[in-house]
């Protein structure tokens, strides 16, 4: 356990640093409505690092860093330009093109110098789990400096932080502040992406800020919520990754999404007045029931049309209720079905046993000769072939059983779910009062984030 704790402590500390700085930039990015700017900047800096690598500099060397910074600055300038270009092209499209071109250019550079591939791989996947103390100190120092600068420049930064050009300011002033913002943002993302990977950095940036905006319009409150939720989600993601034995980055991203869903539920069902809560709850229950009915209907139709195909929902139903395909087979068929299942396990065990034997002989006792290895390999191949045969037998019998099962299980399920869906739809149309429609209209307009 102490190993686990020491493994997770540094990543958690790094996550806190990442959340604090990224959520702040996330608020800006959401207000500017260019959520993919971070990917474009990160990819450009990766391109810089790759070009540095191709020229013989390590990414951690001063020259490597300078290349990364240079390309980030170019990215910042291009993103600054996007506001002017917004008259002709949507900003999001421009950012997307920037990202794709930077990625493709990186691949082309890597193609010429394969040594850069490791760097590209690292940026894609990240490895927050293995962050070291020296790295962490570097992040803390860098983010402290950038955070302080942003604090002093908070008013002009907020003023230009919107999708449209703020009134009463010269184009030049707006462009300069835009450039400085993107440069700071680029430096932050460049540093974090190497450790956390693009997916996780995107989550640090966007998800806490979105959760903040669900509950408030004030930048301060949004930031406070984003920081709290971000840190909590990081802790939960890291713990989940340890307990459930999952890759850390992917587990954290999923946890952030889970927190977003929870925040949405809290907003709709907890933090509203009683009347509204009842309506929302009714809607939610109906949506869940409708989804379940639709799934059941589609799955039972699939079972009726093609009983021999993969039946994921029917298989889940069978294993949950114990009402499996065996019940629709004759006694002798059932015996064959069950013994095929047993044999599959037995053959697999044989393969494993031979494997363990070969593995042990690599370093202890008398080594196995090539002939013995070949014999083991051919036994294993035979067992694999036999496992395949048993699986085929099971598949055939299961298809046969399901051809019968579709009339006893599939047809009733299809009828019940179809009728249920019909009733639900009728109730939906009847209950859709004019007041509901009005509220829907206002809630939609409130999704747009106003500029303070």
């Amino acid at each position: 356990m102490s190993d686990a704790l020491s493994l997770l402590l540094l990543p958690f500390a790094a996550s806190i640093a990442f959340v604090l700085i990224h959520a702040y930039f996330g608020v800006h990015v959401l207000r500017r409505n260019i959520v993919f700017a971070d990917l474009a900047l990160a990819q450009l800096s990766a391109l810089g690092a790759t070009v540095a690598f191709a020229n013989g500099y390590a990414p951690a060397s001063p020259a490597g860093f300078a290349y990364g910074l240079l390309f980030t600055a170019i990215g910042a300038a291009l993103l600054t330009l996007s506001r002017t270009l917004a008259r002709w092209v949507s900003q999001e499209a421009f950012v997307g093109i920037l990202y794709v071109v930077a990625t493709a250019a990186t691949i082309l550079v890597v193609d010429r110098s394969p040594q850069g591939a490791e760097h590209v791989k690292k940026i894609l996947l990240g490895s927050i789990l293995t962050v070291g103390p020296a790295e962490l100190a570097k992040f803390a120092a860098l983010y402290a400096v950038i955070g302080t600068l942003c604090w002093f420049a908070r008013l002009p930064l907020l003023a230009v932080s919107s999708e449209t050009r703020p009134a009463g300011r010269s184009m030049l002033a707006v462009s300069i502040w835009d450039f400085l913002f993107f440069l700071a943002f680029g430096v932050v993302v460049t540093s974090s992406v190497i450790t956390a990977g693009v997916l996780l950095v995107f989550s640090f940036l966007i998800v806490p800020a979105v959760i903040g905006f669900i509950f408030s319009r004030s930048v301060r409150v949004v930031l406070a919520i984003a920081w709290g939720v971000g840190i909590a989600a990081s802790a939960a993601g890291l713990a989940g990754s340890y307990i459930l034995d999952l890759p850390t980055g992917a587990a954290m991203v999923t946890t952030f999404a889970l927190f977003l869903v929870l925040a949405g539920i809290a907003k709709a069902l907890v933090l509203v007045d009683t009347g509204r809560r009842r309506t929302n709850l009714r809607h939610a229950v109906r949506a869940v029931v409708a989804l379940a009915l639709a799934l059941t209907f589609a799955s039972s139709l699939w079972l009726i049309i093609n009983p021999a195909a993969d039946q994921p929902l029917a298989a889940t139903f069978e294993s949950a209720t114990g009402f499996g395909p065996e019940r629709f087979l004759s006694a002798s068929e059932r015996d064959i079905y069950e013994s095929a299942g047993r044999d599959r396990v037995r053959f697999q065990n044989e393969v494993d046993r031979l494997d363990a034997k070969e593995r042990a002989a690599r370093y202890q006792g008398a080594p196995l000769s090539d002939e013995e290895i070949r014999r083991i390999a051919s036994y294993q191949q035979s067992f694999n072939e036999m496992t395949r045969g048993e699986r085929f037998v099971q598949d055939v019998l299961r298809a046969k059983a399901r051809a019968l099962e579709r009339w006893f299980v599939g047809l009733p399920a299809a009828i019940i779910s179809f009728v249920g869906l019909g009733l639900l739809l009728r109730a939906f149309w009847r209950h859709r009062s004019p007041a509901d429609r009005d509220q829907r209209a206002t809630s939609r307009s409130s999704l747009v984030i106003p500029c303070e």
Partner: protein
Amino acid sequence: MLAAAVVAAAPAAVDLRVVATTTDMAALAAAVGGDVATVESIVPAAVDAEAFEPRPGDVDRLRHAALLVRVGLGYDYWLDAQINRIGDPRLTRGGEGYLDASAGIPLLEIRGQSVMNEGGHAHGVANPHYWLDPDNAVIVTAAIAEALVRLAPGQRERIIANRERFLAELKTRRMRWNELLAPYAGVKLVAYHNSWPYFARRFRLDIVDFIEPKPGVAPSPAHLARLISAGRKAQVGAILHEPYEPEDASQLVARKLGVPLVRLATSVDSVPGTEDYLALLDHNVATLAQALGAQRRRAQ
């Protein structure tokens, strides 16, 4: 002394064009082909061969090959689509210009079934890194020599002489490699990927676990914690790491266990000093022996 460069530029008496999928197969083909064949490889040395994407020029090179040498076992599955596209019966499975070098190799770790069937046969998926066992080079060069002789019967003597020369040198070095690694027989190691079973079998090493068991999926913290505690208990001697894979996780485990991180090359030319097949094994054996020796001296 050996014309075992990846591209043998010597003027060829007969212009036999051998195209190998990887630099390792190319190096073995060059050792046998010598001045009889021109050898090219398709996948660059330091690139993940299993995630390789061929370019238009590669199709052209394949099309004009007299002999195609592949690793097989799904390691260079991208080749199948290219062969189908070229549609030359000479270069398809069973054709005289097609050589799957894995045929005849004593395969290790045959597990489960491959989703892709090879010619209707459901092979188990064996570990494909068989060229890292020097004894398998004997088998692979035999197959290459046989194929070359079939294509250019007039060059039979030279091809066989080339191979004999290669095998003699291999035998000499094999003795040195054995001497270097013999003191560490049974040593426990942790590897980044499962690339070393053949190497481990030949030099009697015990690879107890992997940093990244599923290539491309980052290890979970629970896995790393298990690795560290089990590694401490088992007294792991070193961490093996392939070049051009991210090092963070390997470094973390090496640091926690207090053992060296040993960078071994999985293919010819992927790091400096591995320009031909014998140099590749020289490099791997010497690097590992040196690291384990230093570790042992430190522990005493």
